[in-house]
C-alpha cells in the first residue's frame, strides 16, 4: 500500500485522535487536522500536496451538513480532488446531492465502517485512485428504490445483475464479488458485461464501473 498525504476534518477530538491513529497505522500521513468546515477549507489551501481529504459531515459552524458543503466548495476549486466523507448518519438525499456533479474520487461512508480497518483502508485507496465509494446502506436503499420505480433504467436488470451492481457500488472488485457470491470469474464478467450493455455504457467512455454504479443515482 502506498502512503498518502491526508487532511482530516472532524470536530470530535476523541474521534480525530482515533482516526489519526488508524491512518498512521495504515502507513498514511495526516498532514493537517481541522475541527471546523472553515479550518478544512483553509487547510486545503495551505497544503497543495494533499492527496486525500477525509471529512466529517456535521461540524461547526452550523452543525448541519457543513462537511458536505465544504466538500462541494473544494471540488469546485480543485476538480477531481479525492474526498472521503464520513457521517454518523447517511440520507439518500445527501448521497444524491453529493454525487450529482460527478462521482469519481468521491466516497461517502457511515462512520461505523471505520471499525473494519481493512474496508476503510480500501475505501481511502479507492477514492485516492479516482474511484467511487458509496456506503452499502445507501446503495441498498437506492437500488431497491430505483429498481421498483417505473421507467428506471435499472428496471431491465435481473435480480442477479442488480445484486452484482450493488456489490460494485460498495467498492468490491470482480475477484471479491466472485468470492462473495461463490461464482466463477467468467460468470461475474458475463454479468458485468450485461449490466454495461443494458445501461448503454460503451467500453470507450472511460470508467464504466463507476458510471454503472452512478446510473441509478442520477436518475432521481
Amino acid at each position: 500500500m502506498n502512503p498518502m498525504k491526508i487532511i482530516l476534518a472532524e470536530d470530535s477530538a476523541l474521534l480525530r485522535e482515533g482516526l489519526v491513529m488508524v491512518l498512521s497505522h495504515l502507513g498514511h500521513e495526516v498532514i493537517a487536522q481541522a475541527s471546523t468546515a472553515d479550518e478544512l477549507l483553509a487547510a486545503v489551501e495551505e497544503n497543495p500536496r494533499v492527496e486525500v481529504i477525509i471529512t466529517d459531515v456535521r461540524m461547526p459552524p452550523h452543525h448541519s451538513n457543513d462537511g458536505l458543503e465544504a466538500a462541494a466548495t473544494i471540488r469546485q476549486k480543485h476538480p477531481g480532488m479525492p474526498i472521503l466523507v464520513l457521517s454518523q448518519y447517511i440520507a439518500a438525499a445527501y448521497a444524491r446531492e453529493f454525487f450529482s456533479a460527478g462521482a469519481s474520487g468521491l466516497g461517502y461512508l457511515l462512520k461505523d465502517r471505520v471499525g473494519n480497518v481493512e474496508e476503510f483502508s480500501r475505501a481511502v485507496t479507492m477514492v485516492a485512485g479516482g474511484g467511487t465509494v458509496i456506503d452499502p446502506d445507501v446503495v441498498t436503499h437506492l437500488m431497491t428504490t430505483a429498481a421498483s420505480t417505473p421507467g428506471s433504467r435499472l428496471e431491465c436488470l435481473s435480480r442477479r445483475e442488480l445484486e452484482i451492481l450493488e456489490l460494485m457500488a460498495g467498492g468490491l472488485s470482480n475477484k471479491e464479488i466472485e468470492q462473495k457470491l461463490f461464482v466463477s470469474s467468467a460468470t461475474v464478467a458475463k454479468h458485468i458485461g450485461n449490466i454495461f450493455d443494458k445501461l448503454g455504457l460503451a467500453a470507450d467512455e472511460g470508467n464504466r464501473r463507476v458510471r454503472a454504479v452512478l446510473a441509478f443515482l442520477q436518475e432521481h
Partner: protein
C-alpha cells in the same frame, strides 16, 4: 436485504395535481348551492312534500330554545356560561341547518380538550364564539315568535274543530259577524252583544247542526296557510342563522395565527428538548461508540497480524469480531433512535427526504408517496415527520402489518398525511401512545389528528395541518 420500496419525491406532476384537486373538491363542497327551504317553498308541490312537516318540527324545536337558554343563563353565574351554551347551541344549530338544506361548517379553530381551561380561555376570545352567542340571542327572539305563532295556530285550529263538534252536538250561532265602531277597534260578536255605536261590518253565516261543515272547511283552509307561514318563518330563521354562523375564512386564519403564537411555547419547548437530546447523543455516546469501534478494529488487525506470525490468536480474533458485531448493532439502533428524535435531513432537504429515510431499514415494506412540490414551514414539516415516524413505529410494533403506506399531499393550504397499515387494528390516540403527545402539538398548530382503527384492522392515521 432491505425490502423497503419508496416512490421518490419527484413523481410526475400530473399525479400530484390530480390528488391536490380531489382534496380541494372535498374541502370546497360546503360552498355548493344547497336545496334550501326557500327553494322548496317556491315549488308548487310544496304542500305535498315533507317540507311543511320539517318546517313545523323546526319551529317546535326553535320555540323550546328561549325557555332552555333563559333558564340556564338567568342567574348571575349562569350568564358567564352563555358563550359555552352558545357553542353547544351552534353545534345543534348547524345540524338543524343541514336538515333545512344548508351546508354548514364549524369556524372554530380545531383544538383538543385535554386542557379544558386552555380550551375555554381560547374559545372566549374567539370571534366565532361571540357570533354564536349572537345566533343564540337571535334564536331566543325568533323562538319566542315561533312559540307565539304556533300557539296562535293551535288555538285557531282547535277552535274550528271544537266548533264543528259543538255544532254536531246541537249548538247554534246565529246573527253574528264583525262589528266595528268605525274607528280602530272591531270585534267578532253576535248582534245582541254589539255595542250601540258599533255597526255590522261583515255578517258571518249562521252556524247550526246543518252547517257543521263550515268550521271544518275553515280548518282545512287554515292548514295550507299555516304550512306556508311556518315554512317562511323556518326558512327565515334558517337563513338568518346561516348568515350569522357562516364561516369566515379570513377570521379563521387570523385566529389560527393567534393560537399558533399563544401555543408556540409548547412547540418551542418540545422542539428544543428534542434538539438537545439529539445533540447530546450525537456529540456524546455516538462519538464514543464510533471510537470504541475504531479501537476494536485496530485490535482485530493486531490479532490478525499475531495470527499470521504464528501465535494462537484465534480466540482473541473471535472475541473482538463478536464485540464489533455487537457494537455495530448498538450503533445501528442508536442511529434509528436519533433519526426518530430529530433527523438532520429534515432541516436540509425537507419532509420528502426525511420520509424516505423513515422508510429505510424496516423489515416491513413502507411505501412512501410524497406529492408536495415545495418546502413547507419548518414546524409543519417537523410535526408531520414526528406523526409519520410515530405512526410507522406503532404500526411496526403493534399491528402485525405486512405493509405500511405513507402518503402526504397538500390540498387547499392543508398538508394531509396518512399512515395506513394492513394490520390488526385497535390503535387509539388515548393513553401512553406517543401519538397522544403529538395530538397536542398538531392541535397547537391548528391541525387535527384522527385514528381510524377498528378491531381487526386496518389502521388509518390521518393528520391535517394548515401548511401556511
Amino acid at each position: 436485504m432491505n425490502m423497503t420500496q419508496t416512490l421518490s419525491s419527484d413523481v410526475d406532476a400530473a399525479g400530484a395535481a390530480s390528488v391536490a384537486q380531489t382534496g380541494a373538491r372535498r374541502l370546497d363542497s360546503w360552498e355548493e348551492p344547497p336545496t334550501t327551504l326557500w327553494r322548496q317553498l317556491r315549488s308548487p308541490l310544496f304542500l305535498l312534500t315533507k317540507a311543511p312537516w320539517i318546517a313545523l318540527l323546526h319551529l317546535v324545536i326553535l320555540s323550546v330554545v328561549p325557555g332552555v337558554a333563559v333558564a340556564i343563563t338567568s342567574t348571575i353565574v349562569g350568564i358567564l356560561f352563555l358563550p359555552l351554551l352558545a357553542i353547544g347551541y351552534a353545534v345543534f344549530e348547524r345540524w338543524r341547518l343541514t336538515q333545512l338544506g344548508y351546508s354548514t361548517r364549524d369556524n372554530h379553530v380545531a383544538m383538543n380538550r385535554n386542557n379544558l381551561w386552555e380550551w375555554a380561555k381560547f374559545r372566549y376570545q374567539e370571534t366565532a364564539t361571540w357570533r354564536e352567542v349572537g345566533a343564540l340571542l337571535v334564536a331566543i327572539i325568533l323562538g319566542s315568535v315561533a312559540g307565539l305563532v304556533l300557539t296562535f295556530e293551535i288555538i285557531l285550529f282547535v277552535l274550528a274543530i271544537g266548533t264543528m263538534i259543538w255544532l254536531i252536538n246541537g249548538g247554534t250561532l246565529t246573527s253574528w259577524g264583525i262589528y266595528s265602531n268605525g274607528l280602530e277597534s272591531w270585534q267578532i260578536t253576535q248582534a245582541e252583544f254589539a255595542r250601540s255605536n258599533e255597526k255590522l261590518l261583515l255578517a258571518l253565516p249562521d252556524l247550526h247542526q246543518g252547517t257543521w261543515w263550515i268550521p271544518l272547511l275553515a280548518a282545512l283552509v287554515m292548514l295550507p296557510i299555516f304550512a306556508y307561514i311556518n315554512g317562511i318563518l323556518a326558512a327565515a330563521s334558517g337563513s338568518l342563522s346561516h348568515v350569522i354562523l357562516q364561516p369566515r375564512p379570513e377570521e379563521y386564519e387570523k385566529q389560527l395565527a393567534r393560537l399558533s403564537a399563544s401555543r408556540s411555547t409548547i412547540v418551542d419547548s418540545f422542539e428544543s428538548e428534542r434538539r438537545r437530546i439529539e445533540r447530546d447523543l450525537h456529540d456524546g455516546v455516538q462519538q464514543e461508540l464510533v471510537n470504541i469501534n475504531l479501537r476494536l478494529g485496530l485490535a482485530e488487525m493486531e490479532a490478525k497480524r499475531l495470527g499470521q506470525e504464528g501465535a494462537n490468536a484465534t480466540l482473541i480474533q473471535e472475541q473482538v469480531a463478536g464485540a464489533r458485531e455487537q457494537l455495530a448493532h448498538a450503533l445501528e439502533t442508536l442511529r434509528n433512535t436519533v433519526r426518530g428524535i430529530y433527523p438532520a435531513v429534515l432541516e436540509t432537504h425537507g419532509l420528502g427526504a426525511a420520509l424516505e429515510e423513515l422508510s429505510r431499514n424496516t423489515l416491513t415494506p413502507v411505501y412512501v408517496s410524497y406529492l408536495v412540490n415545495e418546502r413547507l414551514a419548518p414546524e409543519v414539516e417537523r410535526t408531520a415527520y414526528y406523526v409519520a415516524s410515530e405512526g410507522v413505529a406503532n404500526a411496526l410494533k403493534h399491528s402485525g402489518a405486512h405493509e405500511i403506506k405513507l402518503e402526504a399531499y397538500t390540498a387547499r393550504s392543508m398538508l394531509v398525511l396518512t399512515v395506513e397499515d394492513n394490520g390488526t387494528g385497535g390503535a387509539s390516540l388515548a393513553g401512553g401512545s406517543g401519538l397522544a403527545g403529538l395530538t397536542e402539538r398538531v392541535a397547537a398548530l391548528g391541525g387535527q389528528l384522527t385514528v381510524f382503527s377498528p378491531a381487526g384492522g386496518p389502521t388509518r392515521l390521518r393528520m391535517e395541518l394548515p401548511s401556511l
